[in-house]
Amino acid sequence: MAIQSALAQVGVAKQSAKGSAASNPTFGHGVTNGTVLTVDVSQALADQTSGARVSPGVDRTGVMPGMDFSCRAHSKTLGLYLYGVLGSLATTGAGPYTHTITSGADLPYLTSFGKLGSNIYAVQDMKLDSVGINFNGTEPVEVAVSGMGTVANYAATFTAGTDDTLASYFAAHTGTFSVDVDGGSGTAATAKIASGSITINNNLETIMISGSISPDDVFVGRQEVEVSFDIIPDDLAMWRTIVTGTSTGTSAAATPVYGSFSIAFTNGSDTVTLAGTRVAFTADFPDVDPAGGPVTISLAGLAVQPANGGTPVTATLVNSQASY
């Protein structure tokens, strides 16, 4: 009998330290796209002569497990994914709790769990390579998660402490959006946004050492925060400001201007806000269309460290989850 592809769940738990795999997920949920487990088996034809015009075999040089999927933005689970990709967390309150999540020097180790039918696998010492928060129109917010780990457990268990599979999630129609391309007002101005994404990349690389076919560790690289927003503008001041430095500029600016953004979604009493205070935007001049329709400007921004230090992006999550 074939395997039913809809019987799939993902789980995740924070480890106390490297090598201390969790036995069950803290959070579990369904997926909308991708796969519940990745195993990158690195092997290629052996570069060796033989008695025929073919290679005599294949060399295997690595077995690297990970995770790569998209899911809904469930409030509780989202907190661990944001902490996992950013690296620093401060929790206040006594219910509801406010989790302020910012860029840290390193990332927490996670154990990921993948369940497909009756097959359950886990990957320990996982770090999140990237998390993207994507929204389009009024649709549910999508979270794209990608991670890399060290050792896979092919006989894991899956009993989620919190099962978010049937829980509600953030949707774009609840959003409030503000974007400012030059920071001139000091506060991001409300924007008509049709779609957008905020992606945090950690540029992970595995550390392979002699003596093991699996990675010894996963190491973080530079953290890069990219944002994109499709805006329906009332005028072209935004584009002109990006190119010339001011909304009335008449020549190209030699240096970038920095702006800001703030994106917030609500789900009942839960909220999540993602904000950056030093973002360098670019934008192509908008396309035209013989069929007509409103002009859209597609902003692409790089969020960097603010001038006074700190974090390129701050995620503020308010929910009923006491801790991560």
Binding site: S16, G87, A90, T91, T92, A94, T100, G104
Partner: protein, 77 residues
């Protein structure tokens, strides 16, 4: 070393390469950091707008705890 004021209890976690997760639990009120790690965590809370600096630490240059001077600590208030 400055004192910090926290309006509510705060739990912090920050990850460092080769060290792992460093966790702190601070109670609401005025907090004096016990070590550099706590001060870094509290400075971060100031950056985030969660904590405020209570004083500039100008009354006493150091609150470093050294065993023979423990009896002096109450006068630091």
């Amino acid at each position: 070393m400055s004192n910090y004021r926290l309006p509510s209890d705060v739990h912090t976690e920050t990850n460092f390469a080769g060290v792992g997760i460093i966790e702190h639990d601070f109670k609401a009120g005025v907090v004096t950091p016990k070590d550099d790690a706590e001060q870094i965590a509290l400075d971060r809370l100031v950056e985030l707008g969660i904590a405020t600096v209570e004083d500039a630490g100008s009354k006493k240059q150091s609150t470093k705890v050294v065993e023979p001077s423990m009896t002096d600590l109450p006068s630091e208030e």
